[in-house]
Amino acid sequence: MRLVSLKARILFGASLWTIGHFMIIAVIFLNLRHESSQWMFHQRPAAPAGAESSFFLRVLHSTAQSSAATAVIGGLCMYVGFLQVRRGMSPINQLRNRLAAVHKGIDARVGGAYPAEVQPVVDELNALLDERERRVARAVAKAGDLAHGLKTPLAVLAHEAQQVRAAGYEQLAADLDQQIDRMRRQIDYHLARARSVASSASPGARASIAASAEGIARVLQRLHSERGMLIEIDAPASQAFSGQREDLDEMLGNLLDNACKWARIRVKLTCSREGEQVVIIVDDDGPGIEPSMREAIMQRGVRADEAAPGSGLGLAIVREIAEIYEGSISLEASPMGGARARLSLPGQDLV
């Protein structure tokens, strides 16, 4: 689109509209005023007339003939004027659509070219988005610093608990361990949550399912290397999650790690598109989960009074992050014999 000044275009369109309008009004007005003359004119077409009246009639005659053409030209002027004004307003519509795309998370910034009157607004909007993203990033970094800053002292405490146990205070050591574990879980949970709340608000992010899943699989092969797990990733390269890579890693990491813990030997991740959603399925060949236990497992480890050490939590984090992105997770029985986790997230195609 050529970027004619918005002011000029609207002014031009409005002028055309007004001129056209006047022309049509003039035609109507003249026709009304000389209806009787026209009637006379029709009644006595051949009647001779005086010089004065003959001139008047000639004018009337030509007016009658040209009134149709004038009305057509006036209408055309109004139409073109209307088009010009509409076209002049189109950057505003474009801006609205682009802004909606940012809101929906499709774009990171307001894109497109705009006339000189609109461009400053767009620039200001983008500057605002920049600033907001910086602030969010800073807040997330601070939350991370806080969490990481707490973990080293916790590690020292955990070691002290070990000394306490060695000195024979078994109960005291067990209490310390339990509290340390609880603190660790709270930190992990709230850090993961803070991160995804913040990042789900920063628009335009996308992360490849395959890239994330393969990265996690490499980690798990290392961490479970003594067990020789078979981790199979079957995700098309085109599928992406409309969100941050960190959050996808956290969800897939917890799901696959959980599957590895329970699996005998095989874990499989598959991924497909269902409308706007990308559905990720993680299967294992372990013992599976009792249907009555499924809901409890998703909750486990979140509540502060939960005492079971080291279990659950992972799935609670996955659910929390998924829900922040308006996704969902459910547990079912797997055709591979064990448990199946079905994670549904907003998806898009990678170009």
């Binding site: 973990k151 590690a155 020292v156 980690v219 961490l223 990491g253």
Partner: protein, 217 residues
């Protein structure tokens, strides 16, 4: 077996160092990235325990530099950064294992043993040679099933030779792997340790390859 602990938090570093020493390792400690880099490039370690949030040079940068330079020493990353995204970056950066804080020291020790074992190509947790068995999990040595009492240095010499069973290990290499950096080294003492081990485990158990070093078949 000799390890490098890279940790900037003083009390945690002290705890780790003493736990590893108790488990029979010779331990060096670096409190920042520069020191760690220097030690890793100049000394011989069987494994390294690396924190990521370090002063001067970040742990992940160190790790990537080492791997790029061809340093293959197994690295266990021990860090407060526990997210899965961090784990992927750590493993892709060249870490062999990843443990996040807080941790149980038994778990770190077990993972460290497994790393050292795998790096030297051993498949079973317990190392055997003839009638001698060495269990790194308990720092225990048995001869025909009967426990043998060894000093720290004797244990490290035996452990290193058994981890590299079938290969000739030079005196210098042995010295590099049994002493921490700040201890007095004397390669003659290696001969003393070997002699004591022979007395305890049988004369022919450790073979001397003249001019080259020692070997356990």
């Amino acid at each position: 077996m000799r390890i490098l602990v890279v940790e900037d938090e003083a009390s945690l570093a002290k705890q780790l160092t003493s736990s590893f020493a108790e488990a029979g390792y010779a331990v060096d400690h670096a409190a920042d990235g520069e020191r760690a880099d220097f030690l890793a490039q100049t000394e011989m370690y069987d494994a390294m325990v690396l924190d990521l949030g370090l002063p001067k040079i970040d742990g992940l940068t160190l790790l990537r530099n080492w791997r790029e330079a061809g340093l293959r020493t197994p690295v266990l990353v021990l860090t407060a950064r526990g997210s899965w995204h961090d784990k992927v970056r750590g493993i892709d950066g060249g870490a062999d294992d990843y443990v996040s804080k807080p941790f149980r020291i038994e778990e770190v020790l077990a993972r460290l043993r497994a790393l050292i074992r795998r790096a030297s190509g051993q498949l079973t947790p317990e190392l055997r040679a003839g009638s001698v068995a060495l269990d790194p999990r308990q720092s225990r040595v048995t001869l025909d099933g009967a426990p043998v009492k060894l000093t720290g240095h004797e244990f490290r010499v035996l452990s290193y030779l058994m981890h590299h069973r079938g290969r000739v290990v030079s005196q210098t290499e042995l010295t590099e792997h049994i002493y921490a950096q700040d201890s007095d080294r004397d390669s003659n003492t290696v001969e003393v340790f070997v002699a004591r081990l022979r007395r305890k485990l049988g004369v022919s158990f450790i073979e001397t390859v003249r001019g080259l070093g020692y070997r356990i078949e």
